[in-house]
């Protein structure tokens, strides 16, 4: 069992456990926190795969994924700040 197998397994299992909060979260902000955490873990998996498998292109994919995740988190939290949750 090599190091990359352990890294990707631990990150994948913890990301799957975080998915519990996405499904059963009581409010929308809980789901937003969990999605932010899953995106961060996916970036870690991509960088680990890029280093251990020597695929240099995965780093660019990870950088673009980080930028898109940040912009979407800011946009959704600004959206939830005003109207739009459906509750009074």
């Amino acid at each position: 069992m090599t190091a990359v197998t352990i890294i990707i397994t631990v990150l994948g299992v913890t990301a799957s456990l975080t998915l519990y909060r996405v499904i059963f979260g009581p409010t929308s902000w809980d789901r937003l926190i969990a999605v932010n955490l899953i995106s961060s873990k996916v970036i870690m998996i991509m960088v680990a795969a890029a280093v251990f498998f020597e695929r240099r292109i995965y780093l660019d994919v990870a950088l673009v994924y980080a930028i898109i995740g940040f912009v979407s988190i800011i946009a959704i939290s600004k959206f939830l700040e005003g109207e739009g949750t459906g509750k009074k």
């Binding site: 890294i7 631990v10 409010t27 902000w29 926190i33 870690m44 960088v47 780093l59 700040e81």
Partner: protein, 101 residues
């Protein structure tokens, strides 16, 4: 060896951050563990991968991702907490404290 030490530290941070996300009772406490998991775990794991790779152009690109994550994750956490506070989410309190007052 140092690289694997850093990677192990990052994985431990990731595991306990996930445990906090599942077990904690409130938005703000969950945000606290999520922020630790994002910054400390990601920085430790990426530093470990940089040490394993050595000093070249490839590890410089990992450093760019690390600096970007270090700048943007606290901003995202603060934005979520600010929007929850503006919408009027109350922080979680123990019932013993409420009865005592």
């Amino acid at each position: 060896m140092i690289a694997y030490l850093f990677i192990f530290l990052g994985l431990v941070f990731m595991f306990f951050g996930t445990l906090g996300i599942i077990r904690f009772p409130d938005i703000y406490t969950r945000l606290q563990t999520s922020s630790k998991c994002d910054t400390a775990g990601a920085v430790a794991l990426l530093v470990g991968l940089m040490v394993r790779e050595g000093l070249n152009l490839f590890s410089l690109r990992i450093l760019i991702i690390l600096i970007f994550l270090l700048l943007t994750n606290p901003v995202a956490t603060h934005a979520i907490a600010r929007s929850a506070a503006i919408r009027g989410i109350k922080p979680w309190l123990k019932k013993k404290n409420i009865k005592g007052e």
